[in-house]
Symmetry: D2
Subunit: 337 residues, 4 copies
């Protein structure tokens, strides 16, 4: 961490500031005195140093972090890729492209089981489906809740596909015992109380990037979970909010190679939410495969026009068949280069 | 709601689509057949109609909402201003400019009581102070929690100022019995499970706008609370995330007159978080007073450089004295015009 | 175009408003009178109707465009792909992936000729290189100007590669006689006087999307050029400005399939400016190939650390060799599917 | 400027890098060697140092500018406020709130003269009016051009109000001889060729902030003009592009106090373009007065519903009367505090 001090500070004040730093944090401080300004360099465990606190000191002009503020998620301290393995077939982060597919929300036994069978046949190794649905309007359908979880379990029993589904409140956790991967939605990415609790859960967490969160903030939220002891975190880029209104969100495709460099955690893409438009799902999925994502999470519905939510961005099982084939071919090409 | 259908649709399909609409929602449908396209107009309770569901229908080209999707928060159905009154002096929304002030986080008995006394003397009618603090990093100070709430109560006992403090999880609610106004932070603005619970709480809720949430989404989150029966909601603009990096956030000052027009709920501004810089707090507070805000929530710390959080944006009690005087003068001028 | 009128308007006013519409524009107006509001539907050449003018009328509640405001660029009226062909090998928009490569700025004869030879050997069919450089600071190197254009011509003479270079002012046009493709930079995307002049130029225009311009605005700027008679426009997505600060810009990869659907013009991607970081160029180029772009424009420098501009985002000729091979393989796979 | 080098660099390389820096720029370099990394501090004229060039060097980890990259616009080197004075009454930057008012575009002699007379009577000291209009669509009305300038002169002759009008191309400059203040629109804020030419013009320049430009970029564009010798630059905040769609742009009210601190140039606000909605103009103008702006530029039209452009955001002369009175009262209150 580099701290630039304001001009012409009294020597005494600088000295007592440095003493405070070494007392408060596990760091050593190097001082460089220029003609007009003094610069301090902090070495040691600067992840624990609070930038904002430093910036608030009256003698400080500005603060620049050199070291990342996340530790457990940091590839520098954990060079090998984290591989999340639910069963022999259902693996994320091993170099393959994992396909997680299913409807936005679970609607009926028939719906979830038939979609599950179809996406499995196409190559998906995880079943997604929402039982608890975050909705902007209090008047909109918000999922079948406990009943939806039961139906997911039936689909799992029939197909063997592990379940990925969203948790919206820690109170619902007891219902999630048979869930394989817990999804945390974009709107809860900085629900810190929830993240803290997930640190004590023994299941992989699929953590979606918030609508307007930076890559670093996503990693800090992963760090919350990991700091509690749960290191099985899958990061998901699902589009960010920008000024462009054609799509619901703007897919930040660059986030994949950046995250792969900064962290050892697997990174997947959700082209369905990123665009909100079904005809964009396939090209974005192909881009994700080419850019090096570890997986895709895709909304597939047997009858999108009757979907209880997100119909406009859902693709049909037939479309998913084609998509799976194509992304498979691109992955094979890219990995073989 | 106006629905534009795709070109050249079979009459039969259009008919069955219209039947579905009238069956599913409490609306009547008017049809206008143009040369190339057909447009449907829906009348009735369209707030309950799900745009996305409609947009997903294969015969639909586009959907345009004419009526707002919120009802209880809508000024059209409730023309008179909602006034939130905690006690005789502590009122928000009655035409005055309410001042809510205090430290980012409660740190000690002495700190909270001395700040409380100072801000009260300057004209504040509410005491703010965080006991549960949302922090980006799991390694940062996250508040004194239950102990912090106890200290707030002591400051209230000493000064008579009602308490405004943040709730991060519904599980903490029992601790908030003596809290006067529950604050919901920007990062929880779309924590729908939490919002739903707040609908059953008999206390005013100070709801902060999310970092990247639209004005309509803020109103929909207020609607969540109101739909549950709690109509005492105070809206707070606290800066939105934009590409500009000089300030932590960009204060959307226009949100005040827009919200005042769309809703009957009171609207306040948080210039401290909006800027993240202490020397911007006063000019932004003056702008807020001039633009018609119902109140201000401001971070005041007896010693910002030793604040455990948000020191860089906190002002001192002396600075608050001056600010209170100035915003009072501007409010008097503007209200008198 | 759908116009929703305000509630309870006098019949006379509505009538005279409709008369104005039919007198002023080549449209017919259909009226649909609902219980509370009146909706007008305009048919005909609504691209010429000014939304803002309509929205300013006192009886108008809101306006919604159904038809796109661009005509010549619209795929609906020109379903076949536009193919820009400079010579037998240098073609953009024919289903292949065109590679445009070269240094950010032309620095010397040796530099431009050696880079040109290398990128040609790797498969590039166009040479890029800046002679006039837009720079944020008036004190930064702003290109060799006329001399730079001469050096580009020499590189063209040696390699046969057609030249793509940026025009910043119409006054420089006489110098561009031997330039093959004129590039208009992001900061001039809405320099309407310049665009209008380009309508009378008989050369392909490579039009870059502005930092904060929507897809529709990009198409409207293309329309400016096309309206003047020059229909050879190549669109270029080069990253948009968002709140994310890790990269210089955020590549909006979705813009490619969206533009390919809305317009018949070819669409290319600039991964160098989109990221500003050399190690992101290859993965983003692969994503561009997979998503269906018609070409790539890439900064290649023989010695990036001595580049007079954009060194941080330039790749070396060796890196370009690998990139060209990889994107070729992905294009082959995707086009073959 | 602080340069952090990558870890474990050879001493020789560091030495030759430092030699390059001192040779290339007028700086002295101080070196601070930490346990793991080496940090360099540059002193001297670092405004001339190109961050990007430095960042591209292979041994550089990151670069942080301590000194601002603008000089002539920098308050540090020019502490006193710049006052732009066109005549005895028409002054911007002297502590008063200058009012610049008039229609979006000049439409007829009668229109411009009658509006001019009305805004003068209300207290405006400058007349605005567009003769050359930047329009997104090539099919929209783009101003009366030379004829419009003639009409502005007539209005000036009648009222004595100096003229503020937009220049879109340097080729039109000869027509602007009688124009008092040249406006550069948001879309041309980074038209560097135009800015450079304006450096040689002996008239004040009203420079609008671009749709997605940072405060620093605005200052760099002012620096372009000033570097050429023209130091009479007025900065104008007119709303920036964000994700919020209720308003056309988002007024960045904080830009005023920030700019007033960073630069000695006067700063005004355009509440008409910032919102795009006529009923927002007054509250935003009041906020501007309170926050410390040096002036306002406001669209006033005798008949907004027949305005050839921007009718939806224009206010009437009667509304301007009230606005002028109110902002006068707020200015008096704020300046008197």
């Amino acid at each position: 961490m580099i701290i630039v001090l304001k001009r012409n500070q009294e020597e005494e004040k600088v000295k007592s500031f440095i003493e405070m730093l070494t007392r408060k944090y596990e760091v050593t401080v190097n001082t460089w005195v220029g003609t007009h300004s003094t610069v301090l360099g902090l070495l040691g465990d600067t992840a624990a140093v609070d930038d904002e606190y430093i910036a608030a000191q009256p003698i400080v002009e500005s603060v620049k972090r050199v070291q990342e503020p996340y530790k457990k998620a940091n590839r520098k301290f954990h060079p090998d890729d984290t591989v999340v393995r639910v069963n022999e077939n259902a693996v994320i982060g091993d170099g393959s492209l994992a396909l997680i597919a299913g409807p936005c929300s679970v609607e009926s036994r028939e719906q979830i089981c038939s979609v599950a069978a179809r996406v499995k046949a196409a190559g998906a190794t995880f079943l997604r489906g929402g039982a608890f649905k975050p909705r902007t309007s209090p008047y909109a359908f918000s999922g079948l809740k406990a009943e939806g979880l039961e139906l997911l379990k039936e689909a799992k029993a029939e197909t063997g596909l592990p379940i990925v589904t969203e948790l919206m409140s820690i109170e619902h956790l007891p219902l999630f015992e048979d869930v394989d991967v817990i999804q945390i939605g974009a709107r809860n990415m900085q629900n810190f109380e929830l993240l803290r609790e997930l640190g004590h859960v023994n299941k992989p967490i699929l953590l979606k990037r918030g609508l307007a969160n930076t890559i670093e903030e996503l990693l800090m939220s992963a760090e919350y979970i990991m700091a509690g002891g749960n290191e099985q975190v899958i990061l998901c880029e699902r589009g960010i909010r920008t000024y462009e209104t054609f799509t619901r969100n703007t897919l930040d495709i660059s986030a994949v190679p950046i995250l792969k460099r900064l962290t050892h955690l697997p990174v997947i893409i959700d082209p369905s939410h990123a665009s909100g438009i079904s005809w964009l799902v396939e090209p974005l999925a192909l881009a994700a495969a080419a850019v090096g994502a570890d997986g895709l999470i895709i909304e597939v519905h047997n009858d999108p026009s009757h979907a209880l939510c997100d119909g406009a961005q859902s693709i049909t099982p037939d479309q998913f068949d084609r998509l799976a084939e194509k992304v498979g071919a691109v992955t094979k090409t890219v990995r073989g280069l």
